[in-house]
């Protein structure tokens, strides 16, 4: 099972990284979303995997590690906020440049 989760994390991170490197805002957004999925699962996995050992007091004698879960929750929320911002920013970029390209294909306005 651990191997399986590791593979999942690997694939999520890989696809996320690959998409982040594409030249338009949309795949970058998708890539970052995938990446954050991968990272969330990674962070979650840091406490070890346990099946049906929900960390509720009194239900299980040997519950799963609750701390990573709390961290992931925070990370999900923050990730959502960030994704939302990026999406709107991508729209703004579309509005200002009339393209969703993020590769440096134009010059002179980069601030140099």
């Amino acid at each position: 099972m651990e191997l399986l989760v590791a593979v999942i994390i690997g694939v999520l991170v890989s696809t996320g990284v690959y998409l982040c490197l594409r030249a338009r805002t949309f795949p970058v957004v998708m890539g970052l979303t995938l990446l954050s999925y991968g990272v969330n699962v990674f962070l979650f996995a840091m406490g070890g995997l346990k099946i049906d050992k929900v960390a509720v007091v009194g239900l299980n004698s040997d519950p799963t590690d609750p701390l990573p879960q709390a961290l992931v929750l925070t990370a999900i929320v923050i990730g959502f906020a960030m994704t939302a911002f990026l999406v709107v920013l991508a729209l703004r970029s579309q509005a200002e440049h009339d393209t969703d390209h993020v590769d440096g294909n134009d010059s002179g306005e980069g601030g140099r």
């Binding site: 099972m1 651990e2 191997l3 399986l4 989760v5 590791a6 999942i8 690997g10 694939v11 999520l12 991170v13 890989s14 696809t15 990284v17 998409l19 490197l21 594409r22 030249a23 338009r24 949309f26 795949p27 957004v29 998708m30 979303t33 995938l34 991968g38 699962v41 990674f42 996995a45 995997l49 346990k50 049906d52 050992k53 929900v54 509720v56 007091v57 009194g58 519950p63 701390l67 879960q69 709390a70 992931v72 925070t74 999900i76 929320v77 923050i78 959502f80 906020a81 939302a84 911002f85 999406v87 709107v88 729209l91 703004r92 509005a95 009339d98 969703d100 440096g104 294909n105 140099r112």
Partner: protein
């Protein structure tokens, strides 16, 4: 009274001219104001001077930054005194001169201020007893000279000259700084007294060559020594008083002053001779030769200055005490005659309107008095007997004859010296003959020229008188000063020397005569030489330098542009490459590929689930150009991740993930309306391969690490949470208790992030205009049914129902999976559904459309809950909880954490709606859309 105040006076004096300017526009008054404090300084110098003449070295020190070894330490010995007199004396003359030189419309106040600033800096250099302090003043002279050279900043030449001088001398200054720091490192002190007696220690240090090179770099750039001489002629763009002051008498002398100052510490080695003497000789010859060919009056003087500085440098380089004395002597002499010459040149420029010697001829007729002064000064420059230049030049010739450093090639030195003398006579002759005789003036801008105002000549007269006085009666005039200065330079007993006009008929005298007649001969052949020179490939050092600088700038731009190419991909690739490098270098060192604990058994459903997740992730990637499909696949990934959380005992996460997923899809759909639906492939193969490699390495690395951690043993702080959750936090759902209690501060930050994101998005969306598509992806016009009946009617009763569920999820959160965050998301989804079903207008008729206050209230509530614990004397966010009993209803428990959770709830609702509703409103601004 402390002599160190001397240094302060010019700086204070720099404030005077602007002050005077405020009250009066009288130029004489202004000049007087400028001259006031330097005069005071000069007068104040009398008493310490007597002490110095009596053989004392005056010291004064105030701590400034002891931890750096930088103190405001000053020293007045012979050398410093000599230079102080030069700086102050010539400075005063220059102020007087400038009074008449500057035209009424120029900003004289500013000019004097800069000049006095420079004066102070220069005084600082010569009187510093601390090497760091000296460097400090050293750079200040560069800075103030930048301002002075660039005084006529409307001229391109002035701007460029100023920058060039600043760049070159600044570079030298930095080298000097490094050198001084190294000296300090070797000696253990920056105190000059300490350094001067540690010569042996410095020279024995392995750092000595480096120190020497760095210090000499400073010296050579400042004193315009070959090959750094080129800035000086271009600094002639400065007003002539500046040239007279900085570029003859003082600033360029700072370099040779440093040679003199550090003479005991650094000189005496072969390396010293090799570098200093060679550079000096090269400069002497080059400057002298080129000077002859200048048609610009000031250009000639500039190159002659270079040449004379080379002479002084050469003298110091000879490693002979007598030579050093001669060098000091020549410093004095050069200062007097060259300053007067510059001033004379300035007068000529002033009166004729040009400095071109091809046009200025026969001025003798028009301004004979000035001509006499200039001719005497030129003669001194040429080394004509009975003038001061002759004396030091004789000593110089004698010293070149004495030197035996070059062994069999020792004759080269006197030869070079004589050659330099020859050219020196030649250009002096040109200065005299070409300007004052040689026919009639040609096409002068101001014609006819006449004598300048009376007082403009006074400074020149004084200086020329000094030239003559020293030349005729050296023993009564300069001898005492020279003696103390030389003594201070050498740091010990003086060698035997005689200042007299007549030493008998000896080799130096022969050399002088050779120079004199050779020079006259060469000048007589000038036409041919000018032709020859004109045919030489013109090499303007300024153009070369500027070309270099510009090329450097272009190169820098190119490098910068290549790195900072405006491509997000490439920036991200750099970052990720760094990560990949970290992983590739670190992971192979792992001690194994499996942790200590056994794995959980695999089951089919999980396997399939994982398979679907992987497939969906890959599909998201593969199909990213078909954007909607890609989003669908991403949604599957989200679903599977939620199920994974379910599987591995994290229902809270599953709930959160599921609800976030919905909001994210809504967000993406809103955005897709304005985005292209499909894009073509546009990455090159190489790039794809690179990205695949990066993705593979990072993915694999992260997977391996995850696997190792999961299979490893972990002893963490978590048992504490499990143990204290109920008694300490009052809740059984440990995850939630961590969120609202143990690590409530994280959550506080997290909701703040959400709130800020909403604010930021609102700011971004305001007045954003986007072209929305009028047709769908298939080219059809949009459907007319904006608010489908079924959707509208069903979604409305769903709202209270969803709110009920939200309340349920919220209330149980502390003890069972759920909590404010999920509840908030459910609420927002339910409200968003209303937006989707019935439109913005409809919804905003029924509830306030501004969610800012909701966000604010949410965060505020959470914050105030935290602050509330202060009342009870506990830190921020300390929670409390208690059981309550109500009759009939029964026991229930209230925790202050629930109030905090309410804050979370409100923030989530407010932020999500603020983001999405405003994004949704975007299309309303698009006027092209019909019927909306």
């Amino acid at each position: 009274m402390n002599f160190a105040i001397l240094v302060l006076l010019p700086f204070l004096g720099a404030l005077m001219p602007p002050l005077v300017e405020r009250f009066s526009s009288n130029r004489t008054l202004l000049a007087c104001g400028a001259a006031l404090l330097p005069t005071a300084a000069l007068l104040m110098l009398i008493k310490p001077a007597q002490q110095v003449f009596a053989g004392q070295t005056l010291l004064s020190a105030v701590d400034w930054i002891p931890s750096l070894g930088l103190s405001l330490a000053f020293r007045l010995d012979g050398l410093a005194l000599l230079f102080a007199i030069l700086v102050l004396g010539i400075g005063l003359l220059v102020i007087l001169y400038a009074r008449y030189y500057l035209s009424p419309k120029e900003k004289a106040g500013r000019f004097y201020a800069y000049l006095l600033l420079f004066m102070g800096a220069m005084l600082g250099v010569v009187t510093s007893d601390n090497l760091l302090l000296m460097v400090l003043f050293w750079e200040l002279t560069s800075l103030s000279s930048f301002l002075l050279i660039g005084f006529w900043n409307h001229q391109t030449g002035a701007r460029k000259g100023a920058r060039m001088a600043m760049t070159v001398t600044g570079m030298g200054g930095l080298a000097l700084l490094a050198g001084v720091l190294l000296i300090g490192h070797v000696v253990g002190s920056y105190s000059l007294g300490q350094v001067l007696i540690s010569g042996a220690q410095i020279q024995a240090s392995p750092l000595y060559p480096l120190i020497l090179c760095l210090v000499l770099l400073g010296v050579f750039t400042k004193s315009a020594q070959f090959p750094f001489h080129f800035w000086l002629p271009h600094a002639m763009a400065a007003p002539t008083p500046v040239s007279a002051y900085l570029h003859s008498a003082t600033m360029v002398k700072a370099g040779v002053f440093l040679l003199a100052r550090l003479y005991p510490a650094l000189s005496g080695t072969d390396l010293w001779f090799d570098i200093v003497a060679t550079a000096g000789m090269a400069t002497l010859l080059w400057g002298a030769a080129v000077a002859l060919f200048q048609h610009d009056l000031k250009g000639l003087l500039a190159y002659s200055t270079i040449s004379h500085l080379g002479l002084i440098t050469l003298l110091f380089g000879l490693n002979s005490q007598l030579a050093a004395v001669a060098a000091v002597f020549h410093i004095i002499n050069h200062a007097t005659f060259k300053a007067s010459l510059f001033m004379a040149a300035g007068i000529i420029d002033h009166e004729t309107g040009t400095r071109d010697m091809r046009r200025i001829n026969g001025l003798w007729k028009y301004m004979p008095y000035t001509a006499v002064l200039a001719m005497v000064a030129s003669a001194a420059m040429a080394g004509v007997p009975l003038l001061n230049g002759f004396l030091s030049k004789e000593m110089f010739f004698a010293e070149t004859l004495e030197s035996s450093h070059l062994g069999a090639l020792s004759w080269l030195l006197p030869l070079g010296a004589t050659l330099g003398g020859v050219f020196s006579v030649a250009y002096s002759a040109r200065f005299i003959h070409d300007v004052f005789f040689n026919g009639e003036p040609v096409n002068l801008p101001k014609y006819p020229p006449h004598e300048p105002p009376r007082y403009m000549k006074v400074p020149v007269e004084i200086l020329v008188a000094l030239c003559v006085a020293v030349g005729v009666f050296p023993a009564f005039t300069v001898a005492g000063l020279l003696a103390v200065a030389a003594q201070a330079t050498l740091g010990g007993a003086l060698p035997e020397y005689h200042l007299s006009i007549w030493h008998g008929f000896n080799a130096p005298l022969v050399m002088s005569f050779v120079a004199l007649f050779g020079g006259i001969f060469i000048y007589s052949q000038r036409r041919r030489l000018f032709d020859l020179y004109a045919r030489l490939p013109a090499m303007d050092a300024r153009l070369v330098f500027e070309g270099r600088i510009q090329a450097l700038g272009r190169l820098a731009s190119a490098i910068t542009g290549r790195l900072q190419n405006g491509s997000l991909q490439s920036y991200a690739a750099w970052l990720l490459t760094l990560v990949a490098v970290v992983l590739l270098t670190q992971l192979p060192n792992l001690p194994g590929w499996h942790g200590e604990t056994a794995m959980l058994p695999l089951d089919g459903v999980s396997l399939l689930c994982a398979g679907m997740l992987v497939a969906a992730a890959l599909l998201t990637t593969l199909l990213h150009r078909h954007r909607m499909t890609s989003i669908m696949c991403l949604s599957v990934v989200g679903l599977m991740v939620s199920l994974l959380f379910v599987r591995f005992s994290a229902p809270d996460l599953a709930l959160t993930q599921l609800s976030v997923e919905v909001v994210t899809i809504l967000l993406l759909m809103l955005a897709m309306y304005f985005m292209p639906v499909r894009t073509r492939a546009e990455s090159s193969v190489i790039r794809v391969v690179r990205d695949l490699l990066l993705a593979g390495v990072i993915g694999a690395g992260v997977a391996v690490m995850a696997f190792l951690v999961m299979t490893g043993e972990l002893s963490s702080i978590s048992p504490f949470f499990l143990e204290h959750s109920k008694p300490g936090g009052g809740g059984t759902n440990v995850v939630n208790v961590i969120l609202v209690d143990f690590r409530g501060f994280d959550t506080f930050g997290e909701i703040t992030v959400l709130g800020i994101a909403a604010m930021g998005i609102y700011a971004l969306l305001r007045d954003m205009r986007l072209r929305s598509a009028r047709y769908d992806a298939l080219g059809r016009p949009w459907a007319k049914d904006a608010h489908p009946l079924v959707l509208v009617t069903i979604s409305r009763p769903l709202l209270p129902l969803a709110l009920l569920i939200a309340v349920y999820i919220f209330l149980r959160g502390h003890n069972l999976p759920g909590g404010g965050f999920v509840a908030g998301l459910i609420t927002s989804v339910a409200l968003l559904l209303q937006y989707v079903a019935s439109g913005v207008g409809w919804v905003h008729e029924r509830m306030p459309g501004d969610y800012h206050p909701v966000v604010a209230l949410g965060v505020l509530l959470a914050g105030l809950t935290g602050v509330g614990s202060w009342v009870f004397g506990f830190p921020f966010l300390t929670t409390t909880h208690d059981h309550f009993h109500l009759p009939w209803i029964g026991d229930f428990e209230l925790a202050s954490a629930m109030l905090f959770d309410t804050g979370v709830f409100l923030t989530v609702v407010g932020a999500t709606l603020l983001m999405l509703a405003n994004l949704g409103k975007l299309s309303l601004l698009d006027d092209k859309k019909e019927g909306a």
